[in-house]
């Protein structure tokens, strides 16, 4: 199902992840989150931006522990845990946030 962002069409796979990861623009996250009835705040964007930076360096989403540690460092220790991340992304930070950030879906036994 392709999605429309600012009049431009983006291909996605069966599970709603961007087909071409280089296509990503911030509007992709806005449109996808609207479909999930989720309003993106600055806190969401901090996570999305971190995911993209990490992906650029390592070609994979960060492990949950790597992510929570980075969040803890940037935004305070009380936020460096998965409860906080699930609060922001109820379908799971790994999968939902990765989708908004234009990253591929983490696969395997996760």
């Amino acid at each position: 199902m392709p999605i429309e962002v600012d009049g431009k069409t983006f291909e996605t796979d069966e599970e709603g992840y961007l087909a071409n990861l280089n296509d990503w623009v911030p509007g992709v996250a806005d449109v996808m989150s609207k479909e999930d009835d989720l309003e993106l705040t600055d806190e969401h964007w901090d996570i999305i931006n971190f995911l993209r930076e990490y992906y650029e360096e390592y070609q994979i989403a960060p492990a949950v522990r790597v992510l929570t540690k980075a969040v803890g460092k940037r935004m305070g220790k009380d936020k460096g845990n998965s409860k906080y991340l699930y609060g922001l992304f109820p379908y799971g930070p790994g999968k939902q946030a990765c989708r908004y950030a234009g990253l591929p879906k983490p696969t395997g036994c996760v």
Binding site: P62, V66, K95, T107, G108
Partner: protein
């Protein structure tokens, strides 16, 4: 969870055998693998015009190759002992999820094309032509079997539905109809080295992070080495242990145990995955290719022992098949089992007294233990029968003061699957995963109410991820599920560990 549009089954106090409701799960079709992933595994890209002929040819080939398959297809007497033993039937009410009916999907085609009676008097023996509808049923219902083998325990003839479901998936793969989840993952193993697609630099970064945490939290130099040549032990663990929670807490535990035991060990970026989805799709060739990475890594690193981390089906492949798939392992130290399970190692160390353990560190929890199907019914641990049941419990009891088992018919050899095994751990099968978890959720709820159980421990990456996902559907917390080595990790007092008093200084 508004996204999922299905009814969550109610939890009963006692297991209830549901009345049949036909086709409740006929819509459940997992995503198909794209041609590029099919071809990466050596399969046909997509169904061809002659798919029926292809299919019958592959069935014939498998019947010749696997004597067991023919025995299983021939010997069922329809006694019905298996019917109410499958968690997917109990949770979905769909008669095609009864093990005998699942087998019959293939049996009726087998009879039509491979037996005298079926060729000439098909109606008399329930034989049917292979049609598109039957192939659809195969695809949908052979992907609603987690190959847990609970039904085979109750079958008086020992028919193993898992083998039939594996054969069905191999046949479908070969004719160009594979499932996306398993096949995309296997192609990642070939390309990058693990199910996740976690490249070496990311793995190294993740492990360094763990070492930093050990320094920060305990002031101890616990190492998580990668590709260390000349180490004694190669640890092969599911890549979920690097990535997900509570898996990583188990990995932290393995490292602490090795550190305190004073052994040298390493992970490998080449064999950075214990899982072997080749088994789920019944493909000997893919299973072998995946296994060979472990052999190559062991030789390149010059290790003396191979130990497997907490992964259910990986332990089946390792314990039962590794030697024939990737052996002989005559270059390893013959004084140790080849391969060894991390729980065997930890239990030995606990018995030797090398670990300083304070079980009261786990006093905030009351534990129960979920036997993973592949470990329970297809492997062993230690040198005594039933070691695969006793050793995990022994370790838990050594590191926790509060432990209660779930109802006897739901554990050990008759354990219920978590609902996500066998290559079904994908979001597009969430309905079958949630419904299939019903029997386990009922047993868990009972020990919560009777004994105040707060957490359930498991030794399989799939079980851990599956429970994390499905527990909330049944009104329970996702973090109820813990790794066994997470409990070990909590209880170990590291040598030279800083205390709270040190922090105050």
């Amino acid at each position: 969870m508004a996204k999922y549009n299905f009814k969550i089954p109610a939890l009963n106090e006692y297991p209830v055998v549901p009345e049949l409701e036909e086709d409740t799960m006929a819509h459940m079709e997992t995503f198909r693998a794209k041609p590029e992933f099919q071809e990466a595994l050596g399969f046909k890209g997509e169904l061809g015009e002659n798919w029926k002929e292809d299919c019958i040819e592959v069935i014939g080939e498998l019947l010749g190759k696997y004597r067991s398959l023919q025995v299983y297809l021939d010997s069922c007497v329809k006694c019905g002992a298996c019917t109410d033993k499958c968690h997917y039937y109990l949770g979905t009410k769909d008669p095609k999820n009864m093990p005998v009916a699942r087998q019959d999907l293939m049996r009726k085609v087998y009879r039509r094309y491979f037996t005298f009676a079926g060729k000439y008097f098909p109606k008399l023996v329930g034989a049917t032509d292979l049609t598109t509808e039957i192939l659809d049923d195969w695809y949908n219902y052979y992907h609603q079997c987690s190959q847990c083998r609970r039904c085979s325990v109750f079958c008086p003839y020992g028919i193993d539905t898992a083998e039939i479901s594996m054969a069905a998936r191999e046949i479908m793969d070969r004719i160009g109809l594979g499932d996306k989840y398993s096949n995309e993952i296997i192609s990642k193993v070939f390309k990058i080295g693990n199910n996740l697609g976690l490249p070496e630099p990311a793995l190294a970064d993740t492990l360094e992070g763990l070492e930093e945490d050990m320094q920060d939290d305990f002031g101890v130099d616990v190492k998580y080495p990668l590709d260390k040549k000349g180490a004694d032990i190669l640890l092969v663990t599911p890549s979920a242990d690097f990535f997900a929670e509570p898996h990583v807490d188990g990995l932290i535990g393995y490292g602490k145990v090795f550190h305190e035991a004073g052994v040298s060990w390493t992970l490998s970026s080449k064999a950075s995955e214990a899982a072997n989805f080749g088994m789920f799709i019944g493909s000997y060739e893919n299973m072998r290719k995946i296994s060979l990475r472990i052999r190559e890594a062991a030789i390149e690193l010059g290790v003396k022992r191979i130990i497997f981390g907490e992964c259910g089906h990986a332990w089946r492949v390792a314990y039962s098949f590794l030697n024939t798939l990737a052996g002989p392992f005559d270059f390893l130290d013959p004084d140790y089992p080849v391969p060894q399970h991390i729980l065997e190692f930890t239990w030995d160390e606990i018995q030797k007294g090398t670990l300083n353990i304070d079980p009261s560190e786990n006093d905030h929890m009351t534990l129960t233990y979920h036997d993973s199907c592949n470990v329970a019914r297809a492997t062993r641990m230690g040198d005594k029968p039933g070691g695969q049941f006793e050793i995990p419990r022994n370790v838990i009891k050594a590191v926790c003061n509060n432990f209660y088992d779930m109802a006897p018919e739901t554990i050990r050899g008759t354990t219920f699957c978590c609902g996500g095994g066998g290559g079904l751990l994908t979001d597009d099968l969430m309905e079958v995963r949630v419904k299939g978890a019903l029997p386990r959720m009922e047993a868990l709820k009972n020990v919560i109410e009777e004994h105040g159980v707060t957490n359930m421990a498991a030794i399989c990456a799939i079980c851990k991820s599956q429970f994390t996902k499905v527990l909330p559907f049944y009104g329970m917390d996702m973090d109820m599920i813990v790794s066994v080595h997470q409990l070990v990790s909590n209880a170990i007092i590291l040598t030279g560990q800083k205390t709270d008093d040190d922090d105050d200084d």
